[in-house]
């Protein structure tokens, strides 16, 4: 089994606050890794470190992706190499049209891959197809990016972007939060459809519900900026019964 990403002894801070305190993780090609942990554990900070968010300063350790050390790469370079994050809180950007934004992003990626850009008509065909599959309203194409979208619509829009950009490494940061059961099923279905032997998922959650729909290959428990435990789905059951404290170091 080949490695997609290897995170070694990662230390990171936001402002003066040390948040990640030595993370070691290996994420495998074609696998789904669930990251669980209580609020404030550092899950979002870890995903921000992976995508290169400017708020997160890596002070020690490395992130190696597809055998390249990306620890200091610009966010857009990481994205073009196939790293995608579905945001826990997608931002609203008034005045930037949803379709225009997505086409710009897709064509940036195509350029990176040495492919010709899609014109507006070609892109619209692709977009409409995906929107239909996801059961989204077609008028969302013409709206501003995430502006006035409900919580569920924002999450679906993240999934839509994932489908269009076809990344290799997908981080879903609490994609399940704020979704009702129908929306959760829809989102899970879309994610399952994207599971391929070449794509890696990192699903961050603190509820087990989504893991009933998307079966993870590995579960990692994160607390206080460290990985406490790595295992299979059985960890989720133990967490369910006992809570996070069972994994605390003694």
């Amino acid at each position: 089994m080949s490695t997609m990403m290897k995170i070694k002894d990662l230390h990171a801070q936001i402002g003066d606050k040390q948040i990640l305190k030595g993370i070691d993780l290996e994420l495998l090609k074609g696998k789904v890794h669930a990251i669980m942990g209580p609020n404030g554990a550092g899950k979002s900070t870890l995903s921000k470190a992976i995508v290169g968010h400017p708020d997160v300063e890596v002070t020690k350790g490395t992130i190696v992706y597809k055998d390249k050390d990306i620890t200091d790469w610009e966010p857009e370079e990481r994205a073009l190499e196939g790293i995608f994050m579905a945001f826990q809180h997608p931002v609203e950007i008034p005045g930037v049209n949803n379709a225009y934004f997505l086409r710009t992003a897709l064509n940036a990626k195509r350029k990176h891959l040495g492919l010709p850009p899609l014109n507006a008509a070609e892109f619209l065909r692709l977009l409409k197809e995906k929107i239909k599959e996801l059961g989204m309203r077609e008028e969302m194409i013409h709206r501003s990016l995430n502006e006035g979208f409900s919580g569920g619509e924002k999450k679906l829009n993240e999934i839509l972007q994932m489908e269009i950009l076809e990344p290799d490494f997908v981080i879903l940061d609490e994609i399940d939060s704020g979704l009702d059961i129908d929306a959760l099923k829809k989102v899970s279905e879309a994610i399952n459809k994207m599971r391929t032997p070449d794509r890696t998922f990192m699903i961050i959650t603190h509820y087990r519900k989504i893991l009933d729909y998307i079966e993870p290959d590995f579960v990692h428990v994160l607390k206080n900026g460290k990985v406490l435990k790595t295992g299979g789905i059985e960890i989720v059951d133990a967490l369910e019964k006992e809570g996070y404290k069972i994994f605390e170091e003694v």
């Binding site: 995508v51 610009e74 995608f84 994050m85 945001f87 950007i93 008034p94 005045g95 992003a105």
Partner: protein, 379 residues
């Protein structure tokens, strides 16, 4: 000559103007609407005076004004020169009166029917001081769109001009002022007076893009049920000082003012939006709205934003104002970059989205393209 050396005693024939100026005094760096502009170096500077000579007007599909003189005009427009034009008797800007004092022949365009008109202004005299005035009056009930473009070659010069606009009742005038200035040492102080008679509507769009030093002072008055909708974009770079100041007076009942300003500043540029909306006592049931937002693209850029209101009636249907200044939204920028969009392009998308409302309202792609060109120019 220097502006400060102007001797009022020499203008005995224009008694009312002299009187007015004596009571107001000359502008100083402490004068409210010049406070942030840096007027002193301009008042102090030696210029070669230039009085535009009247010449024959060539027929064309647009109006051309070269260094303060009409050189071209469409046949459908009545052009004349006024020696004693009626002057706004309550303008807040001293330079409005100085300007009128120094001008012997005011250009007058009389607009009689619906039309779309382009005015091209060329500024070509280097080192010169060029005063002139343009008066525009309309027939009642007509609908006119005017687009003003500026072509600037003049360096180290000062152009002192302005429009006196008399909007007859029920008329609609849209004035688009497109001021793109590529020369750092070009200076312009313009003082405008717009009188909106009953039921008329004045739509103003100003675009100040570039690196020059320009200040435009607008005195707008609204009679009963008249409306003004004023929209302003400043995009300043390098050492630009680009500003607009306003006194907009709602004088008649049911009059409405809606003012919207969006500013983007980079390098060491300074922008000024200083707008005072006044509701006079008779202007019952009027509505005023004012909103100014600024994005500073780097440290060192600076915006003076002063939305203000004075209300002298108890019965007002709306009075809202607000002002914000900040950086580009970092989270939004990151979101776009996470999707693979390069930083500079992502910034541009956000800047354009910030101006989107005004471009949408105007419905003119040309100005948007000009903005993008200027924005993308890199040192």
């Amino acid at each position: 000559m220097r502006i400060l050396d102007i001797n009022l005693e020499e203008y005995g024939a224009k008694k009312a103007l002299v009187q007015k100026l004596k009571s107001m005094g000359m502008p100083t760096p402490k004068t409210e609407h010049y406070r942030y502009f840096g007027i002193r170096p301009i008042l102090d500077k030696e210029y070669i005076p230039y009085s535009p000579p009247i010449q024959s007007i060539e027929e064309a599909d647009h109006i051309e004004i070269v260094d303060g003189m009409v050189t071209k005009a469409p046949k459908s427009i009545f052009v004349e020169f006024l020696t004693n034009p009626k002057v706004d008797d309550s303008h807040y800007d001293q330079i409005y009166y100085i300007n009128h004092l120094l001008v012997d022949k005011t250009i007058h365009f009389e607009l009689e029917k619906d039309m779309e008109l382009t005015i091209v202004q060329k500024f070509t005299k280097t080192g010169a001081f060029v005063p002139y005035r343009i008066k525009i009056s309309t027939q009642p009930g007509i609908n006119v769109k005017i687009e003003e473009e500026c072509i600037v070659y003049a360096e180290e010069s000062l152009y002192l001009y302005g429009y006196d606009i008399d909007l007859a009742k029920d008329a609609i005038l849209q004035l688009l002022q497109n001021r793109v200035t590529g020369l750092e040492n070009f200076a312009q102080i313009a003082s405008h007076s717009v009188r909106c008679n009953k039921n008329s509507e004045f739509r103003l769009f100003t675009f100040d893009f570039g690196v020059a030093k320009t200040l435009h002072n607008y005195h707008i008055t609204l009679e009963e049920n008249a409306a003004t909708n004023a929209n302003h974009v400043i995009f300043g770079k390098e050492k630009a000082k680009l500003g607009n100041t306003f006194h907009i007076e709602n004088r008649g009942k049911d009059s409405r003012t809606h003012q919207f300003s969006r500013n983007i500043l980079k390098d060491k540029a300074r922008g000024i939006f200083d707008g005072l909306l006044i509701v006079k006592n008779p202007a019952k049931y009027s509505a005023i709205y004012q909103d100014s937002k600024t994005i500073l693209l780097n440290d060192g850029a600076f915006m003076v934003s002063k939305p203000q209101m004075e209300i002298y009636t108890e019965y007002i249907s709306e009075a809202t104002h607000g002002s914000t200044t900040g950086q580009l939204d970092e989270e939004a920028l990151f979101y776009l970059r996470q999707r693979g969009i390069a930083k500079e392009q992502a910034k541009e998308m956000l800047v354009l989205s910030f101006l989107d409302e005004i471009f949408e309202k105007l419905g003119d792609e040309k100005i948007k393209k000009e903005f993008i060109e200027l924005y993308e120019e890199r040192e």
